[in-house]
């Protein structure tokens, strides 16, 4: 038995070039399969960690998922705003412990600018309920001051005291600039692994101030209000995009949700973050399963290639099998010899695939973090991935029976003298 394994290994080594290529194919397919699973897992994780302790997210009436996407994950744009009066009415409800207004729509180098209040730094929670903390500086107090997320400061190389200009609207290029009213960086947040890292925070009044002399998404011609005069105007916001609500007691959540959804002044929507996330997963679940199925097919293709290569080699190895027969090998032992080779390559491919994934996640983690806000952990394998690996090996075991059986049949037909 042990000798047969050695024999299988030496034989495989003898054909290392062709087997090596199939090994690479199997390894890459395993990397793809595990990679898809890893990204899926991390995406869910990072979404789930993005908001914590918030009982209700309130916005203009739209779908629950869309509200979550733009209010919490800063993905996409709001279709409608809500009136400041409505927000104030909700915030004044006796059941509400705290409320954070969110005003979105402007950007800086493609990163979202969020208008909010000091309540954001006080009450916002992420992960397991961790509060935001400052890596440097403090919350904004003046009008043209901004607090940066960790990723913003890292990627753009900003430090405290730097002056930055905000663009009107979302996007990367071709946007009108609010260049008459630059902001000073007064605080940089510690990294959270959530969309907060990619956000620039300013006060609601600042959002109002930079749009004073604007109408319809462009500066009004002939009207320019210098930064030093804006304080003379009423900077009370008229609209905000959404609000995060924390309750004194969670028991009141459904009552308040119903109350907000039936708000008399304008159509509003209040969602429970957890419920909205579940809806989101139901929506993307189909895409996830499709992606996983495609990568499973790629693994199947890899294994089919492996079987094809071993079967092709069997033709040249008929003499070898006859020699082994003549010294006493049983057909079952030849079955084992050929199966072991296929299984050996599958196992090695799975290992190599895992190593490759670890390497890729380590190398690509900063890039993925910067572009998608996903923190890929460079761990070896999770238990879910282990199950996938086990499935791959099981498929490899099944596939290995094909060359094994062929060798078995061949050795019975050929006997000691292959009829070539």
């Amino acid at each position: 038995m042990r000798w047969l394994l050695i024999l299988a290994a030496r034989s495989a080594w003898n054909r290392r070039l062709t087997l090596g290529m199939t090994l690479v194919a199997v390894a890459l397919s395993v990397t793809l399969l595990l990679g898809v699973e890893r990204v899926r897992h991390e995406a869910r994780n990072s979404f789930a960690l993005s908001v914590s302790g918030t009982d209700l997210v309130v916005g203009a009436r739209t779908s629950a998922v869309q509200l979550m996407l733009y209010a919490v994950f800063r993905l996409g744009e709001a279709s409608n705003n809500i009136r400041w009066q409505s927000y104030q009415a909700i915030a004044a409800d006796p059941a509400v412990a705290w409320a954070i207004p969110l005003s979105l729509g402007d950007s800086h180098h493609g990163l979202p600018v969020l208008g909010t209040t000091g309540a954001y730094f006080e009450h916002f929670r992420y992960g397991d309920g961790q509060p935001l903390s400052f890596a440097a500086g403090a919350p904004f107090s003046g009008l043209f001051e901004t607090v940066l997320g960790a990723e913003v400061a890292d990627r753009l190389g900003y430090r405290l005291g730097d002056r930055i200009v905000i663009s009107h609207g979302m996007g990367d290029t071709g946007l009108a600039e609010h260049d008459d009213k630059p902001f000073t960086v007064v605080g940089i947040l510690a990294r959270t692994g959530t969309p907060v890292d990619r956000t620039l925070h300013v006060s609601l009044e600042a959002i109002e101030a930079i749009h004073l002399d604007w109408a319809g998404g462009a500066p009004l011609p002939g009207l320019s209000i210098p930064a030093e005069y804006v304080r003379k105007f009423d900077l009370q916001p008229k609209e905000i995009t959404a609000a995060l609500i924390g309750l004194k007691s969670r028991a009141a959540v459904f009552r308040l949700q119903r109350k907000i959804n039936n708000h008399p002044g304008e159509p509003l929507l209040a969602v429970l973050p957890g419920v909205a996330l579940d809806q989101l997963w139901q929506m993307v679940g189909f895409a996830e399963r499709t992606l996983l199925a495609v990568s499973a097919m790629v693994v199947a293709v890899g294994l089919a290639g492996l079987v094809a290569v071993i079967l092709a080699s069997l033709g040249e190895r008929r003499r070898e099998l006859a020699i082994l027969r003549s010294v006493g090998a049983r057909p079952g032992e030849l079955f084992f010899l050929l199966s072991a080779e296929a299984l050996f390559v599958t196992l090695l491919g799975a290992l190599l695939g895992v190593a490759l994934l670890a390497l890729l996640t380590t190398l690509l983690a900063p890039l993925v973090q910067a572009h998608f806000g996903l923190s890929l952990s460079a761990q070896w394998v999770t238990s879910d991935e282990l199950q996938l690996l086990a499935a791959v090996v099981a498929a490899g075991l099944l596939a290995s029976l094909v060359p094994g059986y062929s060798a078995y049949r061949l050795s019975l037909a050929d006997g000691l003298t292959p009829r070539l």
């Binding site: 020699i323 027969r325 010294v327 006493g328 090998a329 019975l412 000691l416």
Partner: protein
């Protein structure tokens, strides 16, 4: 007269996919220590007979008695075991496994038979040392023992194959045209080495060839007729 080492009686074999051919052997006996030359032109069923003696083929009817065992009564696994323990095979060409060393090729016989491993090391040698001894005995220079088998000449390869057939002193050595790829001079030398080694290890030699000129030096000559019969070819 002692009991025959190989005794074939009323044997009949037909391939499932070849209705014309039929191997029919009324009686064939080989005694212990004999060196028998079996002449068979191509198409006479040499390979079939080897398959039967090796226990990888089963006759339609008849008896196949080797070393006191009735092969036809054994189960397939037991026949494989029997072949590993008692029969050394030597083929025409490409006798060696290309990715194994010379010594590992020789030791292949011992890997599948504990009995032959035990006999190869009975004198106190390690298996590898016994392989080296046999190879040297068969006139393969020690400098060649470490060489890749694919880089040996055909004659050298056949001597390695002979060492594999002989190691662990199997009772029967069956050689199937092992000299056909050699030139005449080397054929004679190889045959002499093979016969001497068989004598030394006490193995009975059944040498199968289409070339009658090689029959000199054998105790007995038998003939397989085209179509599958066997007859005494007179002693040499």
């Amino acid at each position: 007269m002692p009991a025959a080492l190989i005794r074939i009686e009323n044997l009949r074999f037909r391939w499932a996919d070849d209705a014309d051919f039929c191997l029919d052997i009324p009686l064939l006996e080989v005694h212990a220590g004999e060196r028998v030359f079996l002449h068979g032109p191509s198409g006479s069923g040499k390979s079939t007979l080897l398959g039967l003696l090796g226990g990888v083929l089963v006759p339609e009817r008849g008896r196949l008695h080797l070393l006191g065992s009735e092969l036809t009564q054994l189960r397939p696994a037991a026949r494989d075991r029997f072949r590993a323990d008692h029969v050394g095979f030597l083929f025409q060409l490409f006798n060696l496994i290309p990715y194994l060393s010379v010594v590992d090729n020789v030791l292949l016989s011992c890997r599948f038979s504990a009995r032959r491993l035990a006999r190869a090391t009975a004198a106190g040698n390690s298996p590898a040392a016994e392989a080296h001894r046999l190879l040297t005995q068969l006139d393969l220079d020690a400098s060649l023992h470490g060489r890749q088998v694919t880089r040996l000449s055909v004659g050298q390869q056949q001597r390695v194959a002979a060492a594999r057939a002989l190691i662990g002193q199997p009772e029967i050595v069956i050689a199937d045209e092992p000299t056909s790829a050699l030139d005449t001079e080397r054929q004679v030398a190889f045959l002499e080495l093979l016969r001497d080694e068989c004598d030394r290890s006490g193995s009975t030699l059944l040498f199968v060839s289409h070339d009658r000129r090689l029959a000199a030096g054998f105790d007995r000559q038998l003939s397989l007729a085209t179509g599958g019969g066997v007859s005494a070819g007179g002693s040499a």
